[in-house]
Amino acid sequence: MATSTAPRTSAPSPSRRSLSHYRWPIGYVVVIVGLFLLYHFILPNLVTQVSGPVTAWLPVATLNECLMWAIMALGLNVVVGYAGLLDLGYVAFWALGGYTAGWLMAAPFNWTWDFHLFGAVAKTYPGTHITFWLVILIAGVLCAILGLIIGAPTLRLRGDYLALVTLGFGEVITQFFRNSNDIAGRNLAGGDGGISIIDPIGTGPFGATGLVPPGLSNGAQDNVYKILVLGLLVGACLFISLRIREGRLGRAWLAIREDELAASMMGVPLVRTKLLAYAVGAFFGGIGGVANAAGITGAVSPSGFDFGKSVLVLLMVVLGGMGNVWGVTVGAFLLAWLNSNGLKQIGVQLDSWFGTTLTATLPRYNYIILGLLLVLMMLYRREGLIPEKRTKALMNTPSRTEMESMGAESLEAAAETAAVEKADAKTDAGIAASAAAVSPVLDESTPKREDRS
């Protein structure tokens, strides 16, 4: 591997970069709309022999879950992949996003006022009913603020300490919601039971214009439309992720990831820059939380926001390829699918082939299987499924200075010692004897060559 001609990895030229910027949104829209058309128009009109396996392996509900997890993974990617900060408590933002939906899109408590703002339910319903499209922004901003509050004291820490503190904060938030039915005598978020029923996504102000048919309820028949809604959100997250990377802030994050001390000496304010990464990641987390509560589950409860979820999102980022949004999206799809439907379906398939009874057990072993997957990835493909260009360079090739210090110099040193040994062998018979003991190859070859000449 350590050859003199090092494969040099260079960043794409600006022109190629801008071209790819126009190319991906088109491809992405084609994929999402294609999926929508497939599930909405094509599959129902096919014979069950064809449509059956497709809907069994990837039902619409699972597809929506995958999209929701992609939002989460993209958010954590900003923190972990871009800025290199290990966050083990990302579930906190997912939870706060979900509860924001609970507060603003449901009738959780005996509140005496009713407030409707393009809500997805009839005006006669009690409680607060604000449209999903506004709530995702509110939740995003709330989570970003929570991120700043959590981050301000903790981001002064480095590496392992930061990871431990974020782990703690993730648990604190969950415990807060678990005990939220009696915070100083007030019921803030329903305690163990959480909040239900949360309004569906709805068409909000768009429905009011009459341009789109009303709908997007939580009924199964509307699941297929959620592909478009969640696809739009994922697309926005991808867009923000890609754009924010290329600029003053993205460079500062990368620099901090590479060498914190050097970055600060080059005028990058460490805490401020890290806080921004944290806030952007939290913003995505809030959107993911609302998308989950309103679009997927229709309810929030503390038991859904356990540490395992933080780990799951982290796994998506690591398996997919830290820092590469496409890798992270693929990682999210793969793991969310395995977790939601894939393992069960694999069990069903194995049962039908071998007569085993894995349908029920395989999903229960999900964390064992995911853990095994992670171990295998770390052994054989550390950089992730679709690695970031830079990381790939790091994993596959030694740096120039590394090679110079290992390759060239060690060769020179070897030649030198060999020469010294030879000289010694000529002058001193005793040393020659010991040299012969140490390096028989060298001593054997020398006289042979002399014989020939």
Binding site: R8, A252, A262, M266, V280
Partner: protein, 300 residues
């Protein structure tokens, strides 16, 4: 190492007649001008203690505008510690640091950097997985303004700023002589080019003072000569003062306008290269009090 020792013996060749070390005072060119305002950087009676250990003891130090100053001393003299106090990495136990006449003692490293103090590192600390151009652009961070939203929506102002920053970065890479390496990842550059890139990166901060920590380490004599010319170019064309920490005496004696010598945390000499060459205390600090001089006599 052997080269610097050889030079040090050369220093000893012309022994100073005076017995005691001359009194050392920080020099502020311009006669009686206030050292705080007349210097780009002025360190006033700095003391640094690590527990019971006094790493730097009551050292005062001045860098006038457009000058090339060197900080030398045997290993463990406290050079790098002092350097780190200037850049704000360590907090001084006592004393004050003035930058452009402003007290920057309580100010954090990144803000000092933005105020006009840029440094390189003894063992290169580039952002290895970023291109040469990106490395330089990172150091423009304090001078750029675009925030989260303008970056996401790529406003005309943000695009113009990025374009200008990229042009400046390329111009700086040309200036240090690695213009063709703009797209290379820093880790793939040769050792010499990495040193150049570090200097380009530091210059991108548009500093008033460039602090270079052993910049000629690993350079061959020819490269060292080029480096001398380069430092003068930087001083004259870019209006920067340069502070060097160096071990290579041949470089130091040629390049410096003034030299400050530290030994075991104390400032033992300050002056022009000729002063330092003939300074008895400096010779003793480098070679020992009597032993080495006797050894030299035996050899010659």
């Amino acid at each position: 190492m052997s080269e610097s020792l050889a030079d040090a013996t050369q220093i000893g060749g012309t022994p100073n007649s005076s017995d005691g070390p001359p009194p050392v005072t920080p020099v502020a060119p311009g006669g009686n001008a206030d050292p705080v305002t007349s210097n780009v950087l002025y360190a006033d009676h700095i003391t640094i203690r690590f527990g019971g250990l006094v790493a730097v003891n009551d050292v005062s130090f001045a860098i006038p505008p457009k000058s090339v100053i060197s900080l030398i001393g045997p290993n463990g003299a406290g050079k790098t510690t002092f350097f780190n106090v200037l850049t704000g990495l360590y907090e001084a136990s006592e004393g004050t640091v003035y930058l452009n006449g402003k007290d920057v003692t309580p100010i954090k490293p990144h803000k000092r950097a933005a105020m006009g103090m840029a440094r390189t590192f003894q063992n290169i600390r580039l952002f290895g997985l970023m291109t040469a151009e990106e490395n330089v652009m990172v150091a423009m961070h304090p001078h750029l303004k675009s925030g989260v939203l303008s970056t996401i929506f790529r406003t005309p102002g943000q695009r113009r700023e990025e374009r200008e920053a990229r042009d400046t970065a390329r111009e700086l890479l040309e200036y240090v002589g690695i213009g063709k390496a703009e797209g290379e990842l820093a880790r793939n550059l040769s050792y010499g080019d990495q040193r150049r890139l570090e200097i380009a990166r530091a210059m991108a901060l548009r500093p008033k003072i460039l602090l270079l920590d052993e910049p000629t380490a690993g350079m061959n004599p020819q490269e060292s000569q080029q480096f001398n010319d380069f430092v003068y170019r930087v001083r004259d064309e870019r209006d920067m003062s340069v502070l060097l920490i160096e071990h290579d005496m041949s470089v130091i004696m040629k390049i410096s306008e003034r030299i400050t010598v530290l030994d075991r945390g104390n400032l033992i000499a300050e002056g022009t290269p000729d002063d330092i060459r003939n300074n008895q205390t400096v010779i003793e600090a480098y070679l020992g009090k009597t032993g080495t001089r006797e050894g030299k006599r035996n050899k010659s």
